[in-house]
């Protein structure tokens, strides 16, 4: 376990260093706009943010403040620090992301089991997955927006005012993960069914419900568990497309806009955040897997 955490920290440091230097290597800076700044003004700003120091000095300064937990000032939102941006936007993304996470888990697993075990449902469900997955999420967002809001007015088109505003973004965000999980579960369930223990347990007199609920589910879930780690990290940090289309004040947007704006500190902060969440989630799923599946405890 300790080894894993240590490896995680090393990964984090490598990602951080690479991001730092690649960012500075991309042409264009945070204060390049259509109206060019006179050198005097640029000098003032560079001094203020230490952008005119040698790159390695900037790097060391950044690491130092990072160790104190300070991600630095945003270069675009000049009254905010990157810590502020994350603390105000992450909860919004996380709320929607967690709802979408559980929804896609629930739908994915139940539909997947239907596909893998049910005789009559198999084909339609599997076709349904193919439809879900063959369309990008911005396409789904537009479709849902068009039918459920623009045409029928059942749900509000955008913003986050009431509960009903959560509906379309959560659905949009869940569609593709649902199909992924469903297909995974379906395949595994089909494999499991062909294994001997099914007949064996039946002959022992276990009820169908118990066989499905206890033995099959457990065996099907362990591969799901190992793949939902990244999914969870992705969902709680927000999605650019969903947040843009539904005008949600989440963090997902910043992953794209901060790069466009060359907001160095924000890009760094978000990369670090995403990377750390991913590492933590991966360590946790591994740990969970070991509890569920004794074979993993090597």
């Amino acid at each position: 376990m300790l080894k894993k955490i240590f490896a995680g920290l090393i990964t984090l440091w490598i990602v951080l260093t690479l991001t730092f230097f690649i960012l500075r290597w991309i042409p264009g800076g945070p204060f390049d706009e259509e109206k060019a700044l006179p050198p005097e003004v640029k000098e003032n700003i560079s001094t203020l943010y230490g952008l005119n120091l040698p790159l390695h000095v900037q790097y060391i300064k950044y690491i130092k403040s990072l160790l104190k937990g300070d991600l630095g000032p945003s270069l675009k939102f000049r009254d905010l620090r990157v810590n502020n941006i994350i603390s105000q936007a992450l909860p919004v993304s996380a709320r929607i992301g967690i709802l979408a996470f559980f929804l896609s888990l629930f739908l994915g697993i139940s539909l997947g089991l239907m596909e893998g075990t049910g005789k009559n449902f198999s084909r339609p469900v599997s076709a349904f997955f193919s439809i879900l997955i063959s369309f990008p999420s911005f396409g789904w967002a537009s479709l849902l927006l068009f039918f459920f809001s623009y045409k029928t007015g059942i749900f509000p088109p955008a913003l986050l005012e009431t509960l009903s505003h959560y509906f379309l973004p959560v659905i949009t965000l869940s569609i593709i993960p649902t199909a992924h999980i469903g297909m995974l579960v379906g395949t595994r369930a089909r494999e499991e069914k062909e294994k001997g223990y099914f007949t064996f347990h039946r002959s022992l007199g276990f009820s169908e419900a118990k066989i499905y609920g206890k033995f099959l589910l457990k065996n099907v879930l362990s591969p799901v568990l190992s793949s939902i780690g990244p999914l969870f990290a992705y969902l709680i940090t927000g999605s650019f497309i969903v947040e843009k289309i539904f005008a949600i004040p989440g963090l997902g947007k910043f992953f794209v806009t901060s790069v466009i704006d060359r907001d160095y500190t924000t890009v760094m902060g978000l990369t670090l955040l995403f990377c750390s969440i991913l590492i933590v989630v991966n360590i946790m799923t591994e740990w969970l897997l070991r509890i569920i599946d004794p074979r993993e405890r090597k």
């Binding site: 991309i26 042409p27 264009g28 800076g29 204060f31 390049d32 706009e33 259509e34 109206k35 060019a36 700044l37 006179p38 050198p39 005097e40 003004v41 000098e43 003032n44 700003i45 001094t47 203020l48 943010y49 675009k76 939102f77 000049r78 009254d79 905010l80 105000q88 936007a89 537009s142 927006l145 809001s149 623009y150 007015g153 059942i154 749900f155 509000p156 088109p157 955008a158 913003l159 986050l160 005012e161 009431t162 509960l163 009903s164 505003h165 509906f167 843009k244 289309i245 539904f246 005008a247 004040p249 947007k253 466009i260 060359r262």
Partner: protein, 506 residues
């Protein structure tokens, strides 16, 4: 049963968005990066600040300079000095607005430690540039008394009163800045000198404004603006009556016009122009003959048709601005263009046109590509780049031909014409013309309007008829969907909506 109830509740909630008559709902396309007049640079911040703050002067709907917090002003010493007399007015917390608030604000903008991007805006003020680099401690602004400000400029500028309507020159409250830093204007502690106060600000989501009771001509109105960057969502919000107006990018206009919004679409001419710039030091555009030929081989009306809106441009000062003269400029003449090309004696097979990718820019570039092929028989390679990378390239090593735009901060031709002087940091054409520089300098201090017009006419002729370092393409329009209930909606040529005059009648 439970699920059905749940949906029923959702349905009821979503239908019950009651709207009141005294509240205007709108959208802004992005979150204002900062609402500190010293740090704000973009148009969304300007829109908000312009409604909650006020400068010495302001603009009416036709972009004339009218009194703002200064009720009158005097021009002394041929435009080298200005005396502004403040009106009796208060901040939204009841404190008096004084000359010191302006002096503090200007000095804070210019203080090198503020790191203000728009610091250079006040460089015309005496000593401002040296103050901004930290070399000196005083600038040419002083309080004669509590209500009178004397401003001394480096050189005479006749349009200085138009400049002090801009957000960077707004007064600032020392006590609040010292306490709250760059967040001094934020609710709940902020104090405002404009017609509205900033009631609530949910970052990246919504901004609520409310009439400022201490404003010298107060209105009781409320405005709520949502941050919506996606146009299709905005259209849905508009159609479902969640918002009363929205801006539409021009390339979408043609799609919308056919539809259901007849009579709700408005286009306002903007002080913003698009042009093709040449690197006049690089082959093949180092010859004015060739530049002229390329300029005469573009029918600008065709571009307008392709992008759906805009005013074709042959000259560079936009319509509605002093100095606009549509008779100046090279007309579309493909025959003459071919002749000029022949006359130059150069054989051109292919050129490259650089631009940053946006749907609109792409349409423009494709059309120009087609026209140059059709009218000159020259192949055009389109090179797209990402915005910031494009900017850096144009600045450090300008390509032979590129597309750029320019927008005015204040309604004076100097804003547009200074752009191409030899010392301008935004002139990427490598073109330098002493006569042009001199004319622009003279026009800056020329109080006589007809003489000033003559100077600009002459300068424009050099720019777009003789030397042709640029081809003006068109002047933009700002396009809006506005609900029939909304009256007096006019963002003006600077595209800054003043909610003070907007009325909602149903």
């Amino acid at each position: 049963m439970r699920i059905r109830e749940f949906f029923l509740i959702l349905f009821i909630i979503s239908c019950s968005s009651e709207k009141s008559k005294d509240q205007i709902y709108g959208i802004i396309s992005s979150e204002p990066p900062s609402l500190d007049p010293a740090l704000a640079t973009d148009s969304v911040s300007y829109l908000i600040l312009n409604n909650i703050m006020e400068g010495l002067t302001k603009f009416d709907e036709n972009m004339n300079v009218v009194p703002g917090l200064a009720e009158r002003w005097e021009i002394l010493d041929g435009g080298r000095k200005f005396v502004f007399h403040l009106r009796e007015a208060k901040w939204s917390d009841g404190k008096e607005i004084t000359a010191d608030d302006f002096i503090y604000g200007w000095k804070r903008l210019l203080n090198p430690k503020t790191g203000a991007e728009y610091g250079y805006f006040l460089y015309p003020v005496k000593g401002a540039m040296d103050f901004n680099t930290g070399r000196i401690k005083e600038i040419g602004i002083q309080a004669i008394d509590k209500k009178t400000i004397l401003v001394e400029l480096e050189e005479p500028i006749v349009f200085f009163p138009a400049m002090v309507a801009f957000m960077s020159t707004y007064p600032q409250r020392k006590d609040l800045v010292e306490k709250y830093g760059e967040r001094w204007l934020y609710p709940p502690h902020g104090a405002y000198c404009g017609p509205f106060i900033l009631k609530r600000w949910k970052r990246d989501y919504s901004i609520e404004l409310e009439g400022n009771p201490f404003y010298y001509r107060p209105v009781s109105k409320k405005v709520k603006l949502f941050v919506v960057s996606d146009v299709s969502s905005a259209i849905s919000l508009y159609k479902k009556n969640f918002i009363d107006y929205m801006g539409i990018p021009s390339f979408l206009l043609s799609h919308i016009k056919k539809g259901e919004f007849e009579g709700e679409i408005f286009s306002f001419p903007a002080f913003r122009g698009s042009y093709i710039g040449f690197n006049t030091k690089k082959e093949p555009f180092d010859s004015p003959l060739i530049r002229k030929a390329f300029a005469m081989a573009i029918d600008k009306n065709e571009i307008i048709k392709v992008i759906g809106t805009g005013i074709p441009a042959n000259s560079w000062i936009p319509p509605g601005m002093f100095g606009h003269n549509p008779s100046i400029g090279l007309e579309f003449d493909p025959e003459k263009a071919k002749e000029l090309l022949k006359e130059s004696g150069k054989e051109i097979k292919e050129i490259s046109l650089y631009y940053n990718y946006t749907p609109e820019n792409h349409l423009i570039a494709q059309n120009i590509q087609e026209q140059w092929m059709r009218n000159l028989g020259i192949k055009v390679k389109l090179e797209t780049m990402e915005w910031k990378a494009f900017l850096q390239m144009v600045k450090l090593s300008p390509p032979p031909a590129y597309r750029l735009g320019w927008a005015a901060d204040y309604p004076d031709p100097d804003n547009f014409m200074t752009l191409f002087t030899s010392t301008s940091g935004n002139n990427h054409t490598e073109w330098k013309n002493e006569r042009y520089d001199r004319l622009i300098e003279l026009a800056r201090s020329e109080p006589n309007l007809s003489r000033r017009l003559k100077l600009y006419n002459e300068a424009q002729k050099i720019l777009v008829e003789e030397d042709v370092p640029i081809i003006p393409l068109f002047f933009n329009t700002n396009n809006y969907l506005v609900h029939p209930c909304i009256k007096n909606f006019n963002p003006g040529a600077l595209d800054i909506i003043s909610f003070y005059s907007v009325e909602k009648e149903c």
